[in-house]
Each structure stands twice: as C-alpha cells, then as structure tokens.
Symmetry: C2
Amino acid sequence: MATVGIVGAGVAGLHLGLALRAADVDVTLYTEHPLEDLAGARLLNTVAHHHPMLERERALGVHHWPAEEYGYAAHHHYLGGAEPVRFTGHFTNPSCAVDHRLYLPRVAADLADRGAKPVVADIGPRDLARLGAQHDLVVVASGRGPLSGLFARRPEHCPHDAPRRLLCAGLYTGVRAPEPAGVGISVAPGHGELLEIPILSRHGPVTALLLENEPDGDLAGLASLPYDDDPARFHRAVLDALAVHHPATRERVEEREFALTHPLDLLQGGVIPAVREDYLPLGDEKFALALGDAHVVVDPVMGQGANLAAYSAAVVAAEIVTDTVYDEQFCLRVARAREEVLLAGSAWTNLMLDPPPRIPELLRALAADQRRADEFTTNFDHPDRQWRLLATPRRQREFLAGDRAEGDRRTTWSIQRSAAPY
Amino acid sequence: MATVGIVGAGVAGLHLGLALRAADVDVTLYTEHPLEDLAGARLLNTVAHHHPMLERERALGVHHWPAEEYGYAAHHHYLGGAEPVRFTGHFTNPSCAVDHRLYLPRVAADLADRGAKPVVADIGPRDLARLGAQHDLVVVASGRGPLSGLFARRPEHCPHDAPRRLLCAGLYTGVRAPEPAGVGISVAPGHGELLEIPILSRHGPVTALLLENEPDGDLAGLASLPYDDDPARFHRAVLDALAVHHPATRERVEEREFALTHPLDLLQGGVIPAVREDYLPLGDEKFALALGDAHVVVDPVMGQGANLAAYSAAVVAAEIVTDTVYDEQFCLRVARAREEVLLAGSAWTNLMLDPPPRIPELLRALAADQRRADEFTTNFDHPDRQWRLLATPRRQREFLAGDRAEGDRRTTWSIQRSAAPY
C-alpha cells in the first residue's frame, strides 16, 4: 500500500488526506503548527463551499454544518454606475460558508481519528528529498510559507505579477440578511467589488464583508487602514465605502449594531493570482505534486479558491488510488485530469478582475433573463461550465442568444458522459 | 441545434453520427462510395469489438450480433522460442468480431434511418473550407484516401515511418475452434505474430488469421504472395508458416478443409502507425477535427484500432453535445479528453511491435499467474489501464510483484471516480 506525505493542512491537504484514508492509503500530514492553534488565529478567508465540495464532504463524513441550516442558495447582484441594475440568481443546490478557523481544526481531528499521522515540522525546500525517501509520493499543499513558491509559474496563465485587488475582509454584526438568504455581489465600476457572505463563525451566524478594491480606486486604503488604533474610525470608513459604492448592502446595515466581531476577525492584504507547474522531481524516481494554493492561486472575488483546492484533492486522491507507481507518468496524468477545471477557475476569475465591456453587458443581460441568471449562479459550482459559456465574446454571445436551454445542455451532458468513457 | 459534417463512414464516422443523432444533432455523412458497395469489397480488417465498444453499440441500438452468441471471452497465448509457453487469459466480458463488410453497411443503414443525411462525394482537402461554411464543425474520419494525411504527425508519438509488420490477413475454413472459444495470440520471436480470431462473416462463423510478419523474418513474403495465381501454393505457404512458427494454431487445422473462404477475403499490406494533430483551422472560425484513423493509426497486432476509433467518437459526440461553440477551445477540450486512452493504445501497441526483453518476460510471468493473465486480457478493453501497468520497466515490475489485487484497483477506482468530478 502506498505511503503519501502531505505538506500543509488547509482544505487541499485535509481533503486529500481524508480521501486517501478512505481508501486505506498510508498518510503523513506535515504542518508547521498544531491545527488546534488555528482556532485563535486571525481570519483566514471568507470562502463558501459550493455544492460539489459539500457533496464530497458528505461522502467523506465531514459535513458537520448542514448547508440546509447554515447555507444559502442565491446570489444577489448589484451593478453600480450610471444605470444601476439588480438581479438575483439561484443555485440548484445550496452553498455554505463556515469560518475556516472552525472548519479546519474539526476536519483535521476527523483525519487524525482516521489514522493519518500528524507531524509538526517546518518543512522547507531542502527537506523534500528526505520526505521523498520516506514516502512513495510527496504532495505540497502549502500555500503560505517557504514552499509556496516552489513550483514554477506558468507565464501563459499568469497575467498578473501584483495583486489586482486590495482586500479588506472582516466578520461583522449589524448587517441584516437579504431575502432570500444569499451572497451579495456588488460591483462598483473602477473601484472594485463587495462580496457579502452569510458565514457561520464562533459568534454564530454573522456577515462577512469582503471588499475587493481596485488599487487605483476610492477604496484602496481600506486594505491597510488600521483597526486596533481606532475601531470607530475603521467602522466609519467601511460604512462610507458601502454608502458610496455598495448601496445594496448599505441599505441593510443597522448602523448602531455595525461592528467587526473581534479584532482578529479582519484580514487585509492581497493575492497574486498564479498557475504553477504540477510537479517537481525530487530525485531517485520520486516526485512532489503541487496541490491547492501551491499549485493554483485565484483572487477570492469569485469564491473559487477552496472549491478548486478540494476538487484538485479529489482528483489527486482518485489518481493515487488508481495507480501503483508515482512517477512522471502519474504526475502528467494528474495534470491532465484536473487541468480543465483548474484553468477554467483561474481564467474566469482573472476575466472578472479585468472585465472588458462585455462583462457589465453580461450582467445587464442576466438581469433580464432569470433562467440564464440561475445558470450563471449555479455555475459557481462548475467553473469549467462557466468558462465554456464566457471564455470568448463569441461564446458569451451564444450563451445569451443561443436556442439551447441550460437544462438541455446539462441533461444531455450527463447521459452522454456516462456512455463515453472506457 | 448544431450541424456537423462527417467525412468518412468507417467505425469512427458511424459511431459519431449515431451518438449525435441520438442527441438530435444535425448530421451530414460524406462518403466516397455508397455504403452498400462495401458488401462486395475486399476484406477490410479482422478487428474484434471489445466490451466497452459493444456496450456503446447496445446503448445506440446497433448491437445486431449478440456477443453472447458470436463472441468469445479468452485469449490463448503461445510464445515460441527455446522454451515455448502457453497460457489462457479470460475477459470479464466477451468481445466479438464481425466482418466489417457486414457490420458497416448495416450500421450505416441504421444511421440513415435515424436521419443522418448521406452525401456521396469525393471530398478532398480543397473541399473542406466549403464544408466548414456549411456546418458548425467538420469531422474528418477518413483513414484512407486524400484526407488521411491531412493532419500533421506528432513526431514524439510516431516512432516508425514504415510498417513494422507486413500483414497477411484472411478468412479461412478448416481451423477448429480452441476451447474455450477465443482469440489466439502466437508470438514467434524475430518473425512476428499470428492473431487467430473467431469472426462472423457472410459465410457464417469462420476463422480470421492475421499474420503479422516482421520485415526481416521468415514470413515477410506472405504479405505479397499472390493468391489468385495459385491458391494451392498460397494455402501451402500459410500452412507451412503455421507449422514452423505458430504451432498452437497449426495443431487445430484440418488440412483438407483449410482454405481461404473467398479470393476477396484476403488483405495484404502494412500499416504505418501514426498519431496526428487533433484539429485544423478551416478559416472563418471553423475547425476540422480528426477522428479514427485520420487521427491515430495503430498496427492491428493488439486489436485496438476500431475500439479506439469508437471510443474517440463517443468522446467527440459528448463534447459536441455539451458545447455550443466549436472553436479552438472546443477542439483543445476534445484533445485533452481523449488523449490518455488514445496515446495509451498507440504506445502499448508500439511497445508490443518492438518488444524489449521484458515483454517475453511478462508473458512468461503471466503464464504462471492466472489472476494477472486475466487482468492483462481484460485490459484489451482498457488500453489506458494496460499502459498504466506496462509503460515502464518499473511499472511492469510493480504490476507483477505489487501487493494490490486488480479487483482492489478497479473497485476503488470507480468509487473514487464518481466522487471526484464537478
């Protein structure tokens, strides 16, 4: 039976570990700190888990926060500018956001219960050959720290070498939920986006506000505005930002109750999107495979990061279990198997970060077309399908004008797919 | 709804057409001659349809010759040399060989009944732009004639620029079936192989003998030995070849009854294996996709050609039905989706044509290991799995010595797979 060393215990590493343990593969999980420490750490992100990821969690037996109870099934869009538009798109199945400082330690405990060996160690590039000697395969699933830049960037998929948005993400009280429960996606042309996300935290259900601010826009300063020095000034600045640029959220804010839930429930900074090589030889016929943020990093604006990581982990686990030798042929098969979805998630996100005029046109068209608005929303579950609809102006035209209904596409797809493979 | 022009009505074109019509896609089928003409033509090949292809035929409603009645489920191996070995491997599900001069016209009639438009026309490279203007997508599924060399060879997957075997394929009476019914695979080191195939012809069940002769071996002359001039001399030469190099078949020949079933039931020549580019721009945002022998040609020694073509047709049909725009992105997706199986079928066949010493070692090991002999046999259904086991010496060692049973691999695979994709 294979032995796999996984470096990093974010979504990618944990999902991989769980899927491998379900197939009785020997797993060692290397983390820099004990996972329990995360509970008291700074906010990690504000990502929702979409239906395919939730389905995998159900199958793995780690779906501890029922999406039916804590989740949502709508995206409320607001597009600002001279003639603002609003519309709501509906998911076929609910998504759910849980603070990862709750989620990750709980799932890590599940993984430990199932026999993965935890090792607390600071793994750097020089340690990988040693890990290679100890395992049949090493998976680098560490998006921060010394290994995050290990795999070479693939320039053809990396249009940016600096963050395209300056981020200010926090958990707040005082934002009344929309009807129906859902994520708000507000676009302020030239200034950026606001994602408003119902999220379960250690304080209970609260609202995450993820301000995605263009570096040259009005709100760029929020990404570096100190909170601890003067919380009232910080709250004031966020409220002003909402009032001017994201009124669809501002109108549901109860000003007296509006506050960050805790000084650590704030994350400011930026992400440099990247698609990196899939693998690296470690010598002696051993390889290290990149997973999660060590492989593909997306800006959080479309909420794809954790979902792509979990998808990639599922593909890697399936390929590990199928194969017996973890050589370059194996690595290439993994690369091919996951490429379409991962590149689609990356390319779609990058398109939305630098929207050509056809993107606001798209939103306006969706506002007048409920069926397609719902398809666009449900495709947050399926970046490959989304990219198929939006990759080029011609594809977008066909999506908006074509005579084939989404139901047709989907149904036929699954019928045909089941007949196709060996 | 899309309109697709298919050039060529072999297995690739017909399977594609049937799958597209099942999804109500508009199909025009271009052939050089009316399909009925095939019935009186020279033997086309001696290929068996393996279980995945038969399953597709069942799903498409064109499984006219039940494999349970006309098929077989065993490979009888004979490896000659100083210490000959014999062993039998069993398929999980039966394969079936039907003379394509029966099969193709019947299936073409099914396709016409289902609304594909037949056009008899001699399509050359200069006609493709016109076809592109008439259809959303053109598929070139013509392995012979002026279009067969249209797509550029991919040199990294084309080790040969001349046939590696000189072929002499014919249908014969007078060969008693082995027990259980099955294909004989006889290897005469340095001289080539004999495939002995139970096949349903217009004469009823007969035996196909496919002599795959090395150009420098004793039997090379059979590929050009005339039949019509002196049938007795031809029969004598084949019998002598069997006696000296393929005794496991010779011992079941009743000499007085041994004869070619008809002068046209003989095909002599050779195949240059090739893997070609997946697609070609036709201008004006239209593309031509390569399918079947126009895309990947394999020597018939492992019986993969028609099966790869049918598989590729199923993938292409699924991608056509899923998509709405047949641009380069579509073509790249098709290429990625079918690449693993097609390259595996090609690489495995090429390995067997130039066998390194580990291949006879493999056969000797299988002769002593029924479970792995059966896995090797069943993997004629699954060239990607076969290649996973045999691609490198390390992989072959792991296959023969590894502690994981084939059942384990397969079961876990299907469980994991169903959980993995979006």
